[in-house]
């Protein structure tokens, strides 16, 4: 259930952020369903071979964002908010779009150009049957 | 709990030093055999060899069982166990004393048996034999104390050289004491006041060495 978490050494972001991201991804793609119990802080720390305090921080931030819920004595679970998975997935899209816009601005592209590029990318993927 | 830790350490030392102990006993017994056969010169050689094997054992044990523990860095392993430096010293002292006494007593008793069973050796030599046999025991205590307190091969070597070179001098002095030498040839063992005095000062000096060792060991602030 918690296999598959990996930390890249070349990823300079703090480990707790990487954990948060990977948890959000699992919820976004539906591997972890709404309301589903998740490993306790200590258990995840042991499984990932990282410090308890790092997992604690990841869980704390995730709870603040309303993504998971921790109940004292009962462990943690994915928030039961309906549509959470989809919402997270959309958040991911937003982040990518913002980044694309930022880079396009650095390159001096106008919004219309960016739109065209987006359409072209979609066509390319469709050609390869990837979407 | 306390006494069982000391027991564990003693047994551990015995197990580790099986080889040197057995070797010294074997050598000593061979020496005794040689001391009994035929020619006078060979017998003399045998007796000297007997004495020497006790001295060698006395020098070797502190090196092997005490200094090596520091040199080979196994001391940290032992001190990570639930023991204090005082308990360590007690256990170490007892284990090497036992390691020495076992062959020492074996050889001494064998020598006494030889004297008992053979008609041509007067029993008058017995007190002298015992007094002389005590010398390597005292030397052993001095060397062990030096190894424990001094914590290095250097100190052990100094003590070893001092002791080994003093044996002959002590032997010479004791053999020349008229009150002791007079009774060599008697058929019966004679324990006169002089013999008692020498023997008790020998035992007393061992007790003193032990007390001094404990005093210094317990005052150490940096055990490792």
């Amino acid at each position: 259930m918690h296999g598959g978490f990996t930390f890249s050494q070349s990823d300079k972001r703090p480990i707790y952020l990487q954990i948060m991201e990977q948890i959000k991804q699992r919820i976004a793609v539906g591997d972890w369903a709404e309301g589903q119990p998740i490993p306790s802080i200590r258990q995840l720390a042991v499984d990932l071979h990282v410090s308890v305090i790092t997992v604690k921080r990841a869980y704390y931030e995730l709870e603040r964002e309303g993504i998971i819920v921790t109940q004292h004595g009962k462990g943690s679970h994915v928030a039961s908010t309906p549509g959470l998975g989809a919402r997270l997935h959309e958040q991911e899209l937003e982040q990518h779009l913002e980044q694309a816009t930022r880079i396009a601005a650095q390159l001096g592209m106008r919004p219309k150009e960016l739109e065209d590029r987006l359409r072209e990318a979609g066509d390319r993927l469709a050609e390869k049957d990837l979407i | 709990m306390r006494s069982s830790m000391i027991r564990h350490l003693i047994l551990k030392d015995w197990r580790l030093n099986r080889m040197p102990i057995s070797l010294s006993i074997v050598l000593g017994l061979i020496a005794l055999l040689v001391a009994q056969c035929g020619v006078e010169a060979v017998r003399l050689l045998g007796s000297v060899w007997f004495f020497i094997s006790l001295c060698v054992l006395g020098s070797m044990l502190p090196g092997v069982a005490i200094v090596n523990e520091r040199k080979k860095q196994t001391l940290a392993f032992v001190m990570s166990l639930p023991v204090s430096s005082v308990q360590y010293t007690i256990a170490k002292g007892l284990s090497i004393l036992a390691m020495f006494l076992f062959p020492w007593l074996t050889l001494l008793i064998s020598a006494l048996v030889v004297i008992e069973t053979r008609d041509d050796i007067p029993h008058g030599v017995i007190p002298m034999l015992i007094i002389l046999a005590m010398l390597p025991l005292i030397g052993f205590c001095i060397m062990s104390a030096a190894a424990l307190v001094g914590e290095s091969e250097g100190w052990l070597m100094v003590a070893s050289v001092l002791c080994n070179s003093s044996y002959w001098f002590a032997w010479y002095l004791l053999a020349r004491m008229p009150s002791l030498a007079a009774n060599w040839g008697r058929p019966v063992a004679v324990w006169n006041p002089a013999a008692f005095m020498v023997l008790s000062s020998e035992v007393g000096s061992i007790a003193l060495i032990m007390a001094i060792t404990f005093f210094f060991q317990s005052r150490k602030r940096d055990f490792i």
Partner: protein, 302 residues
């Protein structure tokens, strides 16, 4: 005795020790129960001395050392029943087998877990019938760790447990150390100059350099305080000295500012002077370690 005292697995207060060429000066350290502390320092910084003092092997000149509630070195025997110690300069008996050592430890401690010991033998790739003198360096380290891990002590004190090990062995050991944390009553204090290991598994970090503690705190909070700000400085603009910035390196129009007390306002403070903040980066523990040591040595020399 209040609960507060026993909630700390390790507590050092004002501990000092003077040697001929080295002084350990006024060491303060706190490790709460159930946590892992990584002690980082260069070679000769004082890590081993600090550890020896808290094991009761060396008597401090001043200050208090309490381990699992016991005062050290006075109560070292009681404490050592619950402490598992392994250090880089510790050796096992060459002429004996690993199995003999395991039996020896088992005969002393009732908490020895045979099943776990055999599992560790497999995981570490060791055999009980091997003599210690036939083991490679990495195997010896693993053997010593096996002996302390299998007893499941309340506190593990490890002096450089991963030094000199190949990446696979390091990974095996880090895995076993984090496994210990499944039990929240057990704690670990380990020293290392491998910042990656410390960054990965420590809850608390303590930096020690030349006998003095530079920093000692919660790892996440600590990492959060440090940032590198990459700045673009137009000609004619001079960068101001800002609180929380411990150093700025500038070459031409590009500058790198190192912050050890970062707040988001700092980036804005730079922007308001006309400099442009290109990036704000997190720093690895190694980068923080080096920056810290350099700063601390400058301060001492000043």
């Amino acid at each position: 005795m209040t609960d507060l005292a026993t909630d700390l697995a390790v507590e050092l207060r004002g501990v000092s020790k003077k040697y001929r060429y080295f002084t350990l000066d006024n060491i303060h350290l706190k490790l709460p129960r159930g946590q892992i502390m990584g002690l980082i320092g260069a070679n000769g910084a004082g890590k081993s001395t600090t550890i020896r003092i808290l094991m009761g092997l060396v008597h401090q000149d001043s200050g208090e050392a309490r381990v699992l509630g016991h005062s050290m070195p006075a109560e070292q025997v009681a404490a050592k029943w619950d402490i598992g110690f392994a250090s880089e300069d510790m050796r096992l008996y060459d002429s004996m087998t690993l199995g003999w050592h395991m039996s020896f430890i088992q005969s002393i401690y009732s908490t020895w877990d045979s099943a776990y010991a055999h599992l560790l033998l497999k995981r570490f790739g060791l055999r009980a019938d091997q003599k210690i003198k036939g083991l490679s360096h990495g195997q010896r380290v693993k053997a010593a760790l096996l002996l302390v891990l299998a007893r499941k002590p309340k506190l593990l004190v490890l002096d450089e447990p991963t030094t000199g090990l190949d990446p696979v062995a390091r990974h095996e050991i880090l895995r076993e150390l984090t496994n210990v944390m499944a039990d929240d009553s057990r704690s670990i204090l380990f020293s290392s100059h491998n910042t990656q290991d410390v960054e990965q598994i420590s809850d608390q970090i303590t930096f020690i350099d030349r006998g003095r503690i530079i920093d000692s705190m919660d790892k996440e909070a600590y990492l959060d305080r440090w940032r590198r700000l990459r700045l673009e400085v137009p000609l004619g603009i001079e960068l101001p000295a800002l609180p929380g910035i411990i150093g700025v390196e500038q070459q031409g129009r590009l500058a790198v500012a190192t912050a050890n007390a970062f707040v988001p306002d700092l980036a804005q403070a730079y922007e308001s002077t006309g400099a442009h903040v290109q990036r704000v980066e997190n720093m690895t523990l190694e980068e923080i370690f080096i920056a810290n040591v350099e700063r601390s040595r400058e301060e001492v020399e000043a």
